[in-house]
């Protein structure tokens, strides 16, 4: 079996992740941050250590600025609904996932002014158009770091500079980049960062978070949920301290234990090494795919300018048939269709048919890449 759906979720998970989850449930699964007994404290410590690992990964000095959520979607919702008020203006791009686009469309219905800056057919953000859009007073610039459809890496450092010149913070959706691209929040100029735990970070599903950069004042962001935090229990108002302000209710302790182990594992491997491995696989795949007549590759077609996610179609074949054949005849698992990103597919010109998405990851090998290219060669020559 060849797993090519890392952009949906990474598989398999590093063994350390499974061990950490098992250990959490077996040995110290008290309620983290609630009680004062040993297994509650130990659970709290595991959660805290996951914050530390993530703070190191994103180069944020204070681990308490890592706020855990169930996924990147919840983190984006927290950032968007917590920050934007009717009358505010928000600028985003034409390559966004629905995790960004649906909350923004809803906010637009509620009186937030939404401007979508176009991307070219390879999914690359038009910086001149962004600069133009930022001539009007803007509350937030919200962008994805890498496309979940074509892997295109957005020019974030330049976009952040433009946003900051206009007085707007930058919210970055790293669902497709955290764990496979180096992300230094202060160096990139990212003020708010949404991540998911279960993709390239190699953690379990049900984990994610919002990182508040040192540059961002938490006073500006309202929580979208309120409730018990284990702190200031005599008050019926939500506490202002981080991370409790945004973390009501018991966190996903076992998931976060797994995520912490995953991030420490990644830090040991080195993100640069993970990236180099994926660039090698992507380059090999792109080279092989280019030799197949009738097969079209979307996106940058340059391993350095994209993640290990590649979208293709074959002239005369439905993407659903290609996906079915890959699974049934070759045990190659990928995702076909629109990938929850209609805006991105409109941008690259594949709406509503969609594409076949070949999403490589840490567990893939060069040998697998060759088998996939051979399979697509055969499917396209029928």
């Amino acid at each position: 079996m060849i797993y090519l759906d890392h952009a949906a979720t990474s598989w398999p998970k590093p063994p350390a992740v499974l061990r950490a989850i098992e250990q959490y449930l077996n040995d110290y699964g008290g309620n983290p941050g609630r009680s004062g007994h040993r297994i509650s404290i130990e659970a709290g410590r595991v959660v805290y250590e996951a914050r530390e690992a993530l703070a190191q990964l994103f180069n944020v000095p204070d681990p308490l600025r890592i706020v855990f959520t169930a996924n990147a979607t919840e983190a984006l919702n927290l950032a968007l609904y917590g920050l934007l008020k009717p009358g505010d203006r928000v600028v985003t791009s034409g390559i966004e996932h629905n995790a960004m686009m649906r909350p923004l469309r809803d906010l637009a219905r509620r009186g937030v002014e939404l401007q979508i800056v176009p991307c070219n057919a390879e999914g690359l953000l038009d910086l001149a158009a962004l600069a133009e859009a930022l001539r009007v007073k803007t509350r937030l610039v919200a962008l994805n770091h890498a496309s979940n459809v074509v892997g295109t890496i957005s020019p974030i450092a330049q976009a952040a500079k433009l946003a900051h010149q206009a007085g707007a913070p930058l919210l970055l959706d790293t669902a497709q980049s955290a764990g496979c691209l180096p992300i230094d929040m202060p160096a990139l100029g990212v003020d708010l960062l949404a991540f998911t735990g279960h993709k390239a970070l190699c953690g379990p599903p049900g984990t994610g978070g919002l990182v508040l950069g040192t540059s961002f004042d938490a006073q500006e962001l309202e929580p979208i949920m309120r409730g018990g935090t284990g702190s200031r229990s005599e008050y019926e108002e939500q506490p202002e301290m981080l991370p409790d302000k945004y973390e009501s209710g018991t966190v996903n302790g076992m998931g976060i234990a797994g995520l912490g182990a995953a991030v420490r594992w990644l830090l040991e491997q080195g993100i640069d090494n993970v990236r180099a491995h994926e660039v090698r696989l992507t380059r090999e795949m792109l080279g092989g795919l280019a030799q197949i007549p009738r097969l079209h590759v979307y996106g940058p077609r340059d391993a350095e300018k994209q993640t290990a996610t590649i979208s293709v179609s074959i002239q005369g074949l439905y993407v659903s048939d290609i996906g079915f054949q890959l699974d049934a005849d070759y045990a190659i698992l990928c995702r076909v269709g629109l990938h929850c990103a209609p805006a991105a597919h409109r941008t690259i010109g594949t709406f509503p048919e969609g594409t076949v998405r070949l999403a490589l990851g840490w567990s893939n090998t060069l040998e697998q890449v060759h088998l996939v290219v051979d399979a697509l060669q055969r499917i396209s020559s029928i």
Partner: protein, 74 residues
């Protein structure tokens, strides 16, 4: 008065952060349920040897951890 002092912080995350800081700096500390008479800001407090209060106060102040109070336990 006992030999112990207690650091009261705002959140359990801060308590864990402070605990880690003290431990890695070589102090013998212990997370305990916060004694009721001080505050119920956070369910966890850090108990330490009172004779080290000066160094610990300085260490915590330099770290930026939001300490609510440091008290000598009865």
């Amino acid at each position: 008065m006992s030999q112990f002092g207690v650091v009261i912080v705002a959140t359990t995350s801060s308590a864990l952060k402070a605990e880690k800081l003290l431990r890695t700096s070589g102090y013998k500390e212990q997370l305990i349920p916060t004694p009721r008479e001080y505050s119920s800001d956070c369910g966890l407090a850090i108990r330490f040897n009172w004779f080290q209060q000066d160094e610990i106060k300085k260490l915590l102040a330099d770290s930026g951890i939001d300490v609510i109070g440091i008290y000598h336990l009865d």
